[in-house]
Symmetry: C2
DNA sequence: GCGATGGATGCAACCGTGTGCCATTTTTTG
DNA sequence: CAAAAAATGGCACACGGTTGCATCCATCGC
């Protein structure tokens, strides 16, 4: 404790490294360990308790101990109590590897995201994290760094290391994902594939509402700033916009595609929107939309006075950018939770048929949308 | 492929669930599997290839196959080629559980964060994800949801399931963390504990620069909007501010503590700063600072005209809030990478002594700081 | 009092991989 | 050409937990 107070050298210049004062303590620890138990080949770690240790302590067989801990009804109540007592005393923690080896279940799932730094995944990750823990599963986070090949390779190697996977925004073709299922149960988010359970957010429905919102404000020409070509949700959103515009007598223009993961993206989209003679623009996602806002601000374009901007997803930051962004809010945490729930259901001995869950999206109106300017069409 | 085109029903009302059209295909698949191999008790999954399968195919012993794949020098080159060929043909993937069981190494590490939705962790997670993959390790993401008890319990259960852990912002007391090390190697981020390897970002140094920046702009009274009491980095930053202010002849005021994970936090901090008769405020982190900006904007206070605001960390959003935030940028991805590197070094047979790496932080000047107003002092 | 019944427990065989030790083969050396 | 040395491959066991089957004992019914 008093050692802690000593470590206050905040005025030290930022050197690359600084040695801690721990050389002696670690040496002492190592010596202590070595003296304790040396199970095999001189390992330096203390040996954790096994079932056999509990068995020895209670005078039971390991099989009985195992049943006492995992099949409570299968042993005498008194025996069970004895075993649990001993387990507590020895600080017993079951070895997951051993359990996995003969049961085939690892007790963990993988969550694959295309890019961890994309704020879109924050909410999803929180949802998967919560539901995983609720289900007693560990969550492997795999960042694909926007690489489809990496995804393929990783899925192959993960196949037998996890019980299943949640794929948030996979890049693999439908066939590859559908083929994956027998080897490893999979749930996909934001995509619909026949035969694969999925969680889809009804952002297209929200796009319809956004178009209504814009048309009611007098907009008659609405652009769509597209994301990466071929992405399922990207095409869905464009179609929803085109359809709603047609229904309401407005003109729909498709711009792009624009990259949506790096900041420069929004600039190109903003310029394209200004060229397209529209009064409003719905962007594929909030990252793109916020990038547009920045560019428009740089160019001195008034939002929403001259151009209204709508985003998708309601990511972190959409409420404090300038101006606060009107967006189609996606229930990301719910989607993550539901994805894991469906995966867990899929892992049960009698898996339900693959289904596609649809979560509603809400149009959140902030300050980046307003009445259409008079002159434009 | 043509099936994919059919799945375009974006105008469908957002129902809770919709059945996929996959019942027949999954049934066919299941039948095909059952016909293939039924290893034990009629499992429904296809049996993955094992070493024994390669051995049978090549006419070698499993031990030789094992060595061919893991100890290239130990077998004849021709034998090794045969084995690798067979492994490819059978799509062999080593069973991690079995490997872990007898080697004691799981090939995975845990990364513990106190709250996944805190944008502070985004950069860190990307760093740990990259370095983990580079080291051939899987990364377990554990969200502690701001609960110290959960952390304690989880660390106990994880102890034998992972090779080590990176603790980003742990809540456990120093003693508990130091005691953890013999059972499970650990690297802590943003905290310095004797005997435990750590990666610390020199934000306090950056705070010093920020104070110089503010003083040079004429500020003489600077507030610190504190984060959660007792957090190591929080105390460090305050001390750095107080020390730098004393050195430069400015007055330092400590406000708070304020919660820094939820948005309402910033409001209280902003009001407190206005009451404190200061002209500038350095906040514990960017979440708090951005919350302050929002509140100040609501109250019609000009930033930086009436009050300058500085944040810490340079999280996602700090560059597009209004006004863009002057902040002390932390190299978060580097910190994550380095944390994993140090953990990996710790896992080697001859672990180096625990050391504390310090990464420099940079003051990034944007638009939330400016000259001090005339009247105040 | 004896056999049937069922609950409680132990035995032993797995799961798939890694590795120490030994047998065998091949190469080198005197 | 024989002996020594090196290279190569196989046997068997260990890792820790689960589970089918056998065993044992107590209780119950007749």
């Amino acid at each position: 404790m008093d050692e802690d107070a000593r470590a206050t050298d905040e005025d030290r210049p930022p050197t690359a490294e600084a040695d801690a004062t721990a050389t002696d303590t670690t040496a002492a620890e190592a010596a202590a360990e070595k003296a304790a138990t040396t199970p095999r080949g001189g390992e330096s770690r203390a040996r954790p308790a096994r079932l056999a240790d509990i068995a020895a302590r209670t005078g039971l067989a390991t099989s009985t101990v195992s049943r006492a801990l995992t099949r409570p009804g299968r042993v005498h109540a008194a025996t069970r109590a004895r075993v649990e007592q001993a387990a507590r005393e020895l600080d017993y923690v079951p070895n997951r590897a051993a359990r996995a080896l003969n049961s085939g279940r690892t007790g963990s799932i993988a969550v694959l995201v295309s890019d961890v730094t994309n704020p879109f995944y924050f909410g999803i990750l929180r949802g998967t994290a919560r539901q995983s823990r609720a289900a007693g599963l560990l969550q492997l986070l795999v960042d694909l760094e926007e690489s489809g090949e990496l995804e393929d390779a990783l899925l192959g190697r993960l196949r037998h290391s996890v019980d299943g996977a949640v794929l948030a925004a996979s890049r693999l073709p439908d066939r590859a994902l559908a083929a994956l299922d027998p080897a490893m149960p999979v749930v996909v988010l934001n995509r619909r594939i026949p035969g694969v359970p999925s969680v889809v957010i009804d952002t297209p429905g929200g796009v319809g509402h956004a178009v209504e919102h814009l048309v009611s404000l007098g907009h008659r020409s609405i652009a769509y700033a597209a994301g990466r070509q071929g992405v399922w949700s990207n095409e869905q959103r464009w179609r929803a916009l085109a359809r709603a515009a047609a229904r309401l007598g407005a003109r729909a223009v498709r711009l792009g595609p624009f990259p949506t993961t790096r900041w420069p993206a929004g600039a190109a989209a903003a310029d394209a929107a200004l060229n397209a003679r529209v009064t409003a623009c719905i962007a594929f996602n909030d990252v793109l939309a916020i990038g547009m806002l920045r560019r428009l601000s740089e160019r001195g374009v008034d939002v929403p006075g001259e151009l209204s901007v709508v985003g998708c997803d309601d990511i972190f930051g959409a409420d404090f950018c300038s101006p606060p962004l009107t967006t189609i809010a996606a229930p990301l945490e719910d989607a993550g939770r539901l994805g894991v729930s469906m995966l867990v259901a899929r892992l049960r001995p009698d898996p339900p048929a693959a289904r596609a869950a649809v979560l509603p999206a809400q149009l959140v109106i902030r300050s980046s949308t307003g009445p259409a300017p008079r002159a434009a069409g």
